[in-house]
Amino acid sequence: MNFNRRAINTTTTALAVILIIVIIAFAAYAAIGVGKTTVTETETISTTVTGSATTATATVAVNECPGTNITLSSYTPPAGKISLTAGGSTFVNPIMQVWVAAYGNLTENEAAPVLINYAGVGSSSGQMGVLANTFAYAGSDAPLSASVLAGYKSSGPMLQIPEALGGVAIFYNIPGVSTNLNFTGPVLAAIWNGSITTWNDPRITALNPGATLPSATIVPVHRSDGSGTTYALSTYLATQSPSWASTIGVGTSINWPTSEESAKGSSGVAGLVSTTPDSIGYADSHYALSNNLLSADIQNAAGKYVAPTVAGFSAAAAAAASTLSTNATATIVNPPASAATAYPISTFTYFLVWANQSNEATAWALANFMNWVVTYGQSYSTGLNYSPLPPSTVTADQHLVSQINFNGQTFTCP
C-alpha cells in the first residue's frame, strides 16, 4: 500500500509530537502520584476575634476508647484503603475538612487507611445524598424531618449525631465602616424582609451611635441552595419577628421576600458580600474571619450585645442542656435571658448516617471516624471558632455511634 507521502508531512508530525508530549507530561504527573493532604495536626487559622488555637494530641491510637482503659472489640477490618464520599453542610465544612484530612493522616499507615472526601454542597444536598446512598454520611445543620425520612424505604434508623457547635455570624461590607456594629433580632428581620432599606435607617443608627452609616441601599444576601444555616437563622428570626414565621417561614429554603441576591454555599455568600459594597450576609462565623469581614454583635435575651465567639456558643448550648438531653437535635437559638453571655444564633450541626450499613469496611470506617470526631476531633474546634461539644453531648454521641452496624456487627466503644 502506497500512502501518499505528502500526507505524512511536517504538519502532521508537528501535531503528533505536540500531542505525545502533552500526554506524556500529564501521564507522568498522574503517575508520580498526587499531592499531600495539606492539613497537619497543628493546622490552625489565626483569628482576630477569639483567643488561642489549639493543636490536637496526635499521638493517640485511633481505636482506643477514650476516657477508659478499654481497647476496641477485636474486630479487624479487611485490609485495604477505604475511600468514602460524603457531603452536606457548608457551615461545618471548615472543621470537617480538617477532620477528614487529619483522620486520613492518622490512619494512613494502618492496614485500612480511611480516606474521606467531603463536599460542601449544603445541608439539603447532604440530606438528599445520604438518603439516596450517594453519600456515606451527610453533614447537616438542619435536622432531618420525619416526613422526609418516611418517604424513603430504609432498613433501619437514620442516626443524627451532633458533631460541632458553632454560630451564624451576620457579616457586612459597608464602605467606611470598620467596627463591629450592633444589631437586634427585630432589626435583622426587618433588613431581610425589606422593611429597612438603607444603612442610615434610624433603627440601625439608634443601636450604633458611634458609627457613621451611609445612606446607601442595603443589599441583603441569602443562600440560594437549601441550607442548614438558613434553617438556624430563620428559626431565630421567627422568634424575633411575629410576622416572619407566617410570611417568610422557617426552613432550609424559605420565601425570601424581595428580589434579593443569593449565592450557593456559605463561601458563596461570604464571597458575594466581600465583593458587593453595602451588602450583608450570614454564614458560619469561620467564613467571616477567613474573608476578613466584620461580624455584628447581636443582642441576646439578656440585653447584651454578643459577638459570635466560642464562649458565646458554649453558653447557648449550656442554657439548653436539659432540652438537649431529651432531644439531641433541638434548636438552641434565642437562649433565655438567664444566659447572659450566650450568642443568640448558635447551632449544633449533625452527622446523618444510616445505622444499618450494607458494607463492612464502610461501617467500620464510619463508626471509628465519628467516634474520633466527637472525642479527639473536638480539640480542633476552638482554633476554627467552633465550641467543643459539651461532655453530655459527647457521651450521647458515642452511644449513637455505637449503633452503626453491619448485619448487627458493631464496631466501637459502648
Partner: protein
C-alpha cells in the same frame, strides 16, 4: 492470483466489516440523541404527572414545600439571551463586516483567528473574570450611572449591585460574539464578487455597497448565525451562575437579580429529595433541552436553506 480470487468472490469481508463498524458508530449518534430525549423525558415523567402545566406557568420554586414552577427561570433564560443578542449581534456584525469587507488581507489573517479564539476560553474562566473584574470594574459603575440618571424607568429599577440580569446578558453577549461573527463572516464572504462590483459601479460608498449587496445576500446566513448565538446563550451555565444573582423571582428590570434554567439546575440539582422532586429538577433539564433543540433546529434549517440557495446562485 490471490487478490484476484478475492475480488471474484464479491465484496470482501473486511470491506463489509469496516462499513458495518462505521455504520454502527454513526448509528450511535442517532442513538445518543434518542437517549437524551427518552431518558430525560422518562425521568421527568413523575414530575410531569404530578405538576402538569403549572410547572411551566407558575412562578414559585420551593422544594421544601414541593412547589416546582419554573416560569421565572424560563423568562430569565429568554431575557438574558435576548439581552445578549441585543448587545452582541451589532458588535458581531461589525466585526464580520470588518473582516469580510474592510480589512486588508494582512491584518485579516491575524485578527480573524484571534476573534475566534474567544470561543476557546473555558466558560468558568469567563465567569470568574466577570465576577471579579468585569462586574466590579465595568458593569457596576455603568449600572450606578444609569440608575442614578434614568432610575425612574422600570427597566432600571433595582439595587444595581452588579450581580443581576444585565451582567448575565453582557457576559453572554461576549461569549456569543465569536459564533455570530464567524457565521456572518462566512455568509458575507460567500457573496459573489459580481454583486459587489455592480454596486460599486453604480457609485456606492463602501458602507452603501455593504448595505445593498452584502446584507441582502447574506441575510439568511446572518440569521442562522444569530440563532446559533441564541442557542449558545440559553445553554450557558457557569458564567451566568456566577453573575446573575440567583434570585427565584423574575422582575422586568435589568438591575434585579434573576435566574436561568441552567443556573437553577446548577444550584439545585442535588437538593431535591424524593422521586417526584428529583424528577422536577430533571424536568427543568427537559425544558432547557426543548428550548435548545428548537433554537438549534431553527438555525440548522435556515442554514441548510442558505447553503442550497448559495449553491444555486453560484
Amino acid at each position: 492470483m490471490a487478490v484476484g480470487s478475492l475480488k471474484r468472490r464479491g465484496r470482501s469481508i473486511v470491506d463489509a466489516g469496516f462499513r458495518d463498524l462505521s455504520f454502527a458508530f454513526a448509528a450511535f449518534i442517532v442513538f445518543l440523541i434518542l437517549l437524551y430525549i427518552i431518558e430525560i423525558g422518562y425521568h421527568s415523567l413523575p414530575s410531569i404527572r404530578a405538576y402538569g402545566l403549572s410547572y411551566v406557568i407558575g412562578s414559585e420554586w420551593n422544594p421544601p414545600r414541593e412547589i416546582f414552577e419554573v416560569l421565572p427561570e424560563i423568562l430569565g433564560t429568554l431575557a438574558s439571551s435576548i439581552i445578549a443578542l441585543v448587545i452582541g449581534v451589532p458588535i458581531s456584525l461589525g466585526v464580520a463586516v470588518f473582516l469580510a469587507e474592510i480589512s486588508p488581507r494582512g491584518p485579516r489573517v491575524v485578527i480573524g483567528p484571534v476573534v475566534e479564539l474567544l470561543a476557546a476560553v473555558p466558560s468558568i474562566v469567563f465567569g470568574f473574570w466577570a465576577l471579579l473584574v468585569l462586574v466590579p470594574q465595568v458593569i457596576r459603575p455603568v449600572e450606578h450611572a444609569l440608575s442614578a440618571s434614568l432610575g425612574f424607568i422600570p427597566l432600571f429599577h433595582g439595587a444595581a449591585s452588579g450581580y443581576d440580569l444585565f451582567s448575565a446578558g453582557v457576559i453572554l453577549a461576549i461569549m456569543i460574539i465569536p459564533y455570530v461573527a464567524a457565521v456572518s463572516r462566512d455568509a458575507m464572504q460567500a457573496v459573489p464578487r459580481s454583486q459587489l462590483e455592480a454596486a460599486y459601479a453604480l457609485g456606492g460608498t463602501k458602507s452603501e455597497v455593504i448595505q445593498m449587496s452584502v446584507f441582502g445576500y447574506a441575510r439568511s446566513g446572518i440569521i442562522a448565525g444569530i440563532f446559533l448565538g441564541f442557542g449558545r446563550a440559553i445553554g450557558e451555565t457557569m458564567a451566568v451562575t456566577l453573575v446573575i444573582g440567583n434570585s427565584l423571582e423574575f422582575k422586568a428590570s435589568l438591575f434585579a437579580p434573576a435566574q436561568t434554567l441552567a443556573s437553577l439546575i446548577a444550584n439545585d440539582y442535588s437538593e431535591t429529595i424524593g422521586v417526584v422532586q428529583v424528577s422536577a429538577i430533571i424536568e427543568a433539564g427537559l425544558v432547557l433541552l426543548a428550548l435548545s433543540l428548537l433554537s438549534n433546529l431553527g438555525a440548522r434549517l435556515i442554514l441548510r436553506r442558505f447553503v442550497k440557495r448559495g449553491a444555486q446562485l453560484l
